[in-house]
Amino acid sequence: MSEQLPAPDFDAQNYARPNQNWVCGHACEGQPCRHGPDSKGRCRATAECKPVLETKPGETKGRWRCTRPGEPCESGPMPDGSCCRPISKCSPVPTLRVWRRRATLAVIAASFAVLLVLLGNPSWRNNFISPGEISSAHSGEAFAALAATNRLNQNCGACHVAGNSGPNGMVKAALSAEPGFFEFNKFLDAHAAAPTAIDGSCEQCHVAHNFHQPNAAAVSCAFCHAEHQGKLMAAATDADCVFCHGDTVKMAAASTAGSVVPVIHHFAEDHPQFRFITEKWRDPDTLKFNHALHLMGATIPNLPGGAKLDCAFCHQLDAAGAFMKPVAFENNCRVCHSLQFDPETPQLQLPHGSAEFVTAFLRSLPKQYADLAAKKNQPDANTYVQQKLVALRTQFGSGDDLERRIFFSTETFGPDTQVGTLSGSTRALFPGCELCHEVKSSEAGSPAITKPIMPERWLAQAKFNHAKHANISCGQCHDAVHSKDTADILLPAKETCATCHSPRGGVVDTCATCHTYHNAAVAAR
C-alpha cells in the first residue's frame, strides 16, 4: 500500500513547523517562500535574495552581489541594489492551531456574554441561577401573602441576601460567606450544622425553629431541609436524622428527667420497641369485642351470601387508602347483630345510638304496633296491637322485664318458651345491649350506655399506609385470631415491621418512611 503515497521527503529548506500559527499561502502549491509569514500572519515575502554591496579596495561604487540560496541568479541584482526576482505576495493561511485558539476564545467570550446578559437582567437572573423548583410551601400565592406580611421579597431575595444583587453583589456575598472559599477545615467540621445567616430568613416565618422540637433549635433548617428540589420539599435523609439522633451526646442533652431520648441509627438495629408495647398500653374502649371469636368461632354464622366473616368485612380502607374507615354498627355489625326484639315482627327494630331513644321506643310499643298495623292496612288495628303485646308479655313478662332484658341481657340464646314458630333453644335475635356495651343502671330514666371510644390512630406521629401493604395478609401484622380482649392493641411489634423494613427485608427503612419530624403541635395549626 505504501506505493500509493509519495514517499515523505525531508527538505531542510522547507521544514514544516506545525507549531507555527501561520503557513505561507503558497504552501498549498508546494512552493512556500523561505521567509514564511510573521507571527501575526503577515506575508514577509520580498525577493529571492537580499543583494550585498561589495566594494573592492580603491573602488567607490562597489558591486551588488546576489545572495540567493543555492545558485546566484543569472540576471543578478538591479543597479539600485534590489533583487531582480521579487516574490509574489501571498495571503498566509492560519493553521488548525490558530482556528482552535479562535474557537476557544469564541466559546469563552460567548460564555461570558451569555452569563453577563442573563445575570445582568433581574427578570432573567432568578430563573437562570435557581438550582431547582422551590417547594410549594415556599412559593405560590399563599407564600406570597405570607411574604408580604413579613415584608419579604417573593424572589431569591426572600431567603438569600445575594438574591437582590447583580453580579457584583453576588461576588461580594460570596467573599463574605462563612465558611469562606478556602476554609477547608470548616468544610470538614461536623458541627457546622449550627444555624447560619440564612436561618434568619427562615425564622421570619418559622419563629425560633418552632417546626421542630425546641431541643433541635441549634441545627440549621437547611441542614435537613434541602430546598430547590421540586414542589415537595425533599424528605430529610437518614443521615440528617442520625446526625442528631445517632449522637449519644446530643441525645443525652436532649433527654429530660424521666424522658430519655434514645440513640438511633437504623430502624432494624437500635430503634426502640414501640411505646404501646413497652408501656403496656391497653385499649380503653368499653365495647366488648372478641376478635378471636369473630374470626375463628364455630358459632359465628356466615354472612348473607354464604361468605365467612373476615377482617375485610369490618375493616375497609378509607378513600385515601392509608387508614381504615371507623367500624360502624350500621355497616358492620347489624348484618349479624339484629335489633329485632319481637321474633314475629321483623318490621320493628330497636333504635341504635341512644339509650333514651330505646327507652322511649319501648314505652311507646302500643303506638309503634298501631303505626305498623296502619302501614300493613290491618282491618282491626286494636286487635293486632293487643295480640302483639300479649305475645311479648308471654315471652318477656311485663314491660319493665322487657326493658331490663333489652338493656342488660347478654343471653345469646332465646328463652325456652315457644314463641310463634320459634322454639326456646334458637339463637336470640337480640341478646341485649350489654352483650356489646357497658350498660349502667340508672334510678331515674334510662340506663346509661357508655359511648364506645375507638381511637383512630395509636401511633399518631407515625405514617402508615394500608394500601401499600395490601400484598400481605392482615394476620401477618395484626394478631387478631388470638385476641379475646377488647383491650388488646392489635398493632405489630417493631420486629414484625423490621421483617420487611430492614436491609435484610429489602423494603425501604428510612426514618421518614414512618416519621413526620415536625413539631406536632405546630404542624397541627
Binding site: 506545525p18 438574591g163 461536623a190 421540586g230
Partner: protein, 271 residues
C-alpha cells in the same frame, strides 16, 4: 505492546482503587453539612490539573515530566473526574437552568474526551494499515503535486489523446482539485475511488497502447490522491475532536467559576 498493556493495567488498577476509595469516603462523610463544598473544590482542582495538560504541551522546555506520562494521567484522571462529578451531585440529577447547563458542559467535555481517546487509539492503527505516510501540514502541497502531475499527463504538451483529455476534464479534474470524500474515508468506504478506477478501466477500450500507458499512470495518481484524502480525513478527525474538547473545557471553567461564586454567595452562611 507489552508496555502499553502494563500502562493500561496500572492505570485501570489506579482508577478502580481511586473510585472505590472515593465511594467509601463519600459514604463515610456525605452527612457533613458542607460536604458539597469539599467535593466541589476537589472536583475543581482535578479539573484544573486536567486543563493544565493542554498548557503542559505548550511548555516543552519546562522539566514537568514526560508528555506521555501527562497524557496517561490526563486519561485516567479524566475518568475519575466523572466519578467525582457524580459524587459532587450526590448521584442526583441537577436542577435549574444554570446547573443543567453546567452539567451538560461537563458531560460534553467528558464525552468528547472519551471520543478523542477512541480516535487516538483506533485511527493511527487504521492509517498504519492503509500504508503510506503524509505529514498533515504538507498534504496540500502533495495534493497540488499530484494534481500537476495528472494535468501534465492528460492535458500537457506531450498528451495527445482527446479521449483522456475529455475524461480528465469531466471526471478527474474535480477529483484532484481538492480533498474529497471525508465522511466516506472516515467510515472506511472505498466506493468512490473504486468507481473512478472502474471508469478509467472502461476507457481502455477506446484507447491505443500509448494512451493505455497514460491511463495506468493516471490510475496510479488517482490511488495516491485517494490515499492522501484518506490520510487527511483521518488525521483531520484526530485534530477536530479537540475543537470540541478544548473550547468546551474553557467554557466549562467559566461556568464553574460562576458556580463557585453562586454557591458561596447563596450559601447559608452569607451575612
Amino acid at each position: 505492546m507489552k508496555r502499553f498493556r502494563r500502562q493500561f493495567f496500572l492505570g485501570m488498577l489506579a482508577l478502580i482503587a481511586a473510585t472505590m476509595a472515593a465511594l467509601w469516603l463519600h459514604k463515610r462523610f456525605c452527612a457533613l453539612p458542607d460536604y458539597a463544598f469539599l467535593t466541589g473544590w476537589i472536583l475543581f482542582a482535578v479539573m484544573l490539573v486536567l486543563t493544565f495538560f493542554n498548557a503542559r504541551k505548550k511548555l516543552p522546555f519546562l522539566a514537568l515530566g514526560k508528555a506521555e506520562t501527562w497524557l496517561q494521567i490526563h486519561i485516567y484522571l479524566g475518568f475519575f473526574t466523572v466519578v467525582l462529578f457524580l459524587i459532587h451531585l450526590n448521584f442526583r440529577a441537577p436542577h435549574g437552568w444554570f446547573e443543567i447547563t453546567l452539567a451538560w458542559l461537563f458531560a460534553l467535555v467528558s464525552a468528547s474526551g472519551v471520543v478523542g481517546l477512541f480516535f487516538s487509539r483506533t485511527l493511527p492503527r487504521r492509517l498504519a494499515t492503509r500504508g503510506g505516510e503524509a505529514i498533515f501540514e504538507k498534504i496540500p502541497a502533495l495534493r497540488h503535486a499530484l494534481k500537476t502531475g495528472a494535468e501534465n499527463l492528460a492535458l500537457g504538451k506531450e498528451a495527445k489523446s482527446p479521449v483522456i483529455a475529455e475524461f480528465y476534464t469531466r471526471q478527474l479534474a474535480p477529483f484532484f482539485e481538492g480533498p474529497k470524500n471525508f465522511w466516506l474515508h472516515t467510515f472506511e468506504s472505498r466506493r468512490p475511488v473504486s468507481a473512478l478506477l472502474a471508469e478509467l478501466d472502461d476507457l481502455r477500450r477506446f484507447t491505443n497502447e500509448a494512451e493505455r500507458a497514460t491511463l495506468d499512470k493516471l490510475a496510479a495518481l488517482v490511488r495516491q490522491k485517494d490515499g492522501l484524502d484518506y490520510h487527511r480525513a483521518l488525521q483531520l478527525t484526530l485534530k477536530l475532536w479537540l475543537f470540541v474538547h478544548i473550547p468546551l473545557t474553557y467554557g466549562l471553567l467559566v461556568f464553574t467559576v460562576l458556580h463557585i461564586v453562586l454557591v458561596f454567595g447563596f450559601s447559608g452562611g452569607v451575612q
